[in-house]
Amino acid sequence: MTEVSVTKDAVPTADDLVVLKNVNKHFGALHVLQDIDLTIARGEVVVVIGPSGSGKSTLCRAINRLESIESGSITIDGKPLPEEGKALARLRADVGMVFQSFNLFAHKTVLENVMLGQLKVRKADKKAAEDKARALLDRVGVAAQADKYPAQLSGGQQQRVAIARALAMDPKVMLFDEPTSALDPEMINEVLEVMQQLARDGMTMVVVTHEMGFARSAANRVVFMADGRIVEEAVPDQFFSNPRSDRAKDFLSKILHH
């Protein structure tokens, strides 16, 4: 019985969008990713949580190769992650990324930020790109800021623009690397609401976060990492109410009871 299910797991189905197999990476002597196996299905929202230095950001960044890996394989939509060059750029265009520090292009207006990828990577024409950019900015609630520069916006607004910028590429999957960690507490919700909406719309999402409320309400699955390993994977309800591993129990006891 067990063997049957193992074999079944090993065969990628058409619905598996992101597949990590046996991924390893070191930062010097530190083994930040240890034998990571993770499969993310189309339309699934996976929230990665864990203590600082557990490798969750590195995992997220490895999926579009902002961090290289030493061994193992990562495939996206059936295609292995290319090492470099044009093929890698093409793949990255299909993988949206939202950073902790927003990283909006500081010398371009909000509108230009959202148009850049469409114009230069998707080769869209200017009118279409602008219309789409304005629609997306409207969707994330910052349409009124279109002609300002990033430095003139609040953190929450900047992060919502960053989400719009990633969405403008029509990504197959969105990666969120601690999207609310650099925000003032009052701005966290406006960003989380946009992400909730995305999740409801069926976007495939990998979210590294410390927002347990978001994990509970939006995630299909919680992945708990510690010391470079995936320690536990479960649906949110089960993970938060009845964690199996001691490491997860310890982590949750520290963050939930105060």
């Binding site: 902002l66 470099e84 990255r92 990283n103 500081a106 850049l116």
Partner: protein, 221 residues
Amino acid sequence: MFDFLEGYNLWEAFWTTVQLTVLSALGSLIWGTLLAAMRVGPVPLMRGFGTAYVNIVRNIPLTVIILFTSLGLNQTFGATLGSSQIESTNFRLAVLGFIAYTSAFVCEALRSGINTVPVGQAEAARALGLNFTQVLTLVVLPQAFRSVVGPLANVLIALTKNTTVAAAIGVAEAALLMKEMIENEAQLVLISAVFAFGFVCLTLPTGLILGWVSKKVAVKR
């Protein structure tokens, strides 16, 4: 008091200085940017070339480079740079020499500007699917240039004064005229003062204007 100026065409001499400066500045801006792109690029061979070029060229005295363009390129290898007259050949050789020399400094100023652009800017650009050249030309370099207008103004001012070295290969710019006047007139101090004043008139506005531009285009973060 300024009788000694009669019979000399100062305007023409300084105009040649301006031409030397502008052409060399444009050339070294282009070549220096390419060198900087090579030095931050992913191709080891190009990185090596950029590094070697900068470290060799900036450590050779400018006079040696300018003399080499004339004695080496022109007289030994017969390069005329598409000109049949010796005067314009020398002018072109001088511009070539200034570009070769100044671009090393432009490259290093620009590279320090690239280092002021947060890594996240390039990461965000790569994450959108832009290739290396696009990341550099659309995101990194525009921000790098804005942060090095001040240092580039220094390079431009140095270049303006460095053009006097072209006198060594007979280009009729300001310093050559000064030398001629000092030989013919008995007004050593006044002649020097006139030429010093001429150069200040060229470089002082350059510094002031570019200082203003530097503040104007600074990227707010």
